[in-house]
Chain length 338, copies 2
DNA sequence: CTGAAAGCGCTAACAG
DNA sequence: CTGTTAGCGCTTTCAG
């Protein structure tokens, strides 16, 4: 049933029906007439026709690098919460860290098939600036700072500083660093800076031989921990950019008779489930992923509602969760501390 | 630029342009003309207009109960792979195990805003049968068997049997069971049956006092393990319906001087990352989540392409991964066994 | 093989 | 407050 048939059925004009569904001027009389007819027929306007006519789709595109990553999944959950509540649909593109897929995602944008975009970003290339810069749609960047765009991100530097400082405060003098590519500004560069901040505050100097770069997974954490601890066996506390990497490092320690935390303290950023239940529960810094997703979505919707109000980005704070890997035994029965 | 302007620019008719993009009859001459004009202008048809006109959206709705669950995330990745490759968009609804949200998802369906649906299901209610039964769209159910619908699922019963049998084969005589609600047929009922199969094959009988039901998280696994092992302290091997529950049980053991695997063996289903790196690496059964997602998406697209070909469901197999929690020490250096 | 023409279902001026 | 009207951009008969 289309609007014409429905209007005839209800005994009103098409325009009245349209107004009914879009909050226009309408007498109570007609309003009741239409309400009854809707009740009787189950009529509702066609989204496709509305999209074509209004040039708005009420769909938001979310682009992310990897779904089966706890942090991404939580951000998307936050986004989904807010979008759902506001009657928006969520279009998902998982780029799998793959350029081909990013292109297909950007293709979507050029076809104007969504009202706005949330990009869960890791690495920005020159191409990104070009494409994002020429984007006409409202855009939110999640998890990174990118000058000129509206970003919701975490205090990665502060988080890394807190984790490192926590170990140094326990008297460790030989810190090591296991990071990720500096091309990832948040997880790579900022967390390294935070690490260096902590060293400096403790009167220590970062030493390249005590630093290594891993990929984003446990396997790589294992391998790089092996390389690093072989090269610099006197390291007595190790900051890892992600929980996954730290867990890899922990596995290395476990098989090479390095006691954690006695011989080596370990602290990371992410506060993942796996870290909480690892062979030695991992001290980690919690970032507010879900909240970040909610804020990003809300800001995007605000922007959609008020296109000319400039939107502010935001940097969310963090919370250090000390656990056994830095010698902070949990109180009895409290394994589930966030 | 719309099709009229573009046709004028290219010096052909609108119909020719439409045929160009939809693979209709077209002379090579016009084809070249249009190709050049596309090159020059970057024109592409409006998706919205196509949707309205053809009544197909090239969008598939994925409904799932929880995104930040490793299994769901992997299934969605599989779905996303296939959809992407075939030029379909993925609309995501995270129901958060919440009926309100499921309703809003079903609302989408009634508005015919998608071409097909993939439902990652947990619990079916009477309402489900009503709604799903009256659905006109192609539907795939993922992770459950539901008679009358096309389902891609796992051999949950076989998986549970294998995990349990593995422990019994090691000489354990007092098995325990930590399951989930039977309302979830796959994870609840089938896995319990698999457990019972294994007992029967070993000449044992399931005893209600040695069985308990937990929720889907570690916290609940901890609590229910506590209750169960207090009630039946002679249990020497425990099958858990999910890795999360097993990890909770493991945490309980860890704090109550129960040695795993010496005093208590532990095996589960899911083969999660957390289980691999838990304080005692967890023996678990791997299910092929990603593959399941790919198959479901592919089958759905097949159905979309050939609406009258009946589609067959499929039950995927499993693979037992023995680890330390059942006394199967991994070979040196092989922490990353799948 | 091709173009003209008729809508798909809706919204937004516009003139009452 | 209301109805009429003119499209949004495209696909698809239909008659060449």
């Amino acid at each position: 049933m289309n609007i014409t048939e429905f209007a005839a059925y209800a005994g009103v004009s098409k325009a009245a029906v349209s107004r009914y569904f879009n909050g226009g001027y309408l007498s109570q009389e007609k309003r009741d007439l239409i309400a009854n007819a809707v009740e009787a027929t189950g009529y509702h306007p066609s989204l496709q026709a509305q999209m074509l006519r209004t040039r708005r789709t009420r769909q938001v595109l979310v682009i992310l690098p990897k779904l089966s990553s706890e942090s991404c999944a939580r951000m998307v959950e936050g986004i989904s919460d807010v979008l759902d509540q506001n009657g928006y649909q969520l279009l998902l593109v998982n780029t799998a860290n793959d350029n081909t897929r990013e292109l297909s995602a950007l293709n979507l944008l050029q076809r104007n098939t969504v009202d706005g975009v949330i990009l869960i970003a890791t690495i920005f290339t020159a191409e990104h600036r070009t494409v994002l810069g020429s984007l006409r749609l409202p855009l939110m960047i999640l998890g990174q700072q990118y000058p000129g765009f509206c970003c919701i991100s975490h205090d990665d530097r502060g988080a890394a500083r807190a984790a490192t400082a926590h170990m140094l405060a326990k008297g460790r003098k030989h810190p090591g660093f296991l990071g990720v590519t500096m091309m990832d500004k948040a997880a790579g560069l900022d967390r390294r800076r935070g690490y260096e901040d902590a060293l400096q505050a403790a009167g220590l100097y970062p030493q390249p031989t005590r630093m290594a770069i891993a990929a984003f997974d446990m396997e790589s954490g294992y391998e790089q921990a092996a390389a690093l601890l072989t090269r610099a066996p006197d390291i007595d506390c190790l900051f890892c950019a992600t929980d996954s990497i730290a867990i890899g490092a922990l596995q290395y320690c476990r098989t090479h008779h390095i006691r954690v935390p006695e011989d080596l303290m370990l602290a990371a950023v992410g506060n993942s489930e796996a870290g909480r239940v690892a062979s030695v529960p991992l001290t980690s810094v919690q970032l507010h992923y879900r909240t970040a997703g909610q804020i990003a979505a809300q800001r995007l919707l605000d922007q959609l509602a008020h296109p000319h109000t400039p939107v502010e980005g935001q940097v969310l704070d963090y919370a250090l969760i000390p656990r056994s890997s830095t010698g902070d035994a949990l109180p009895q029965g409290n394994f589930w501390a966030e």
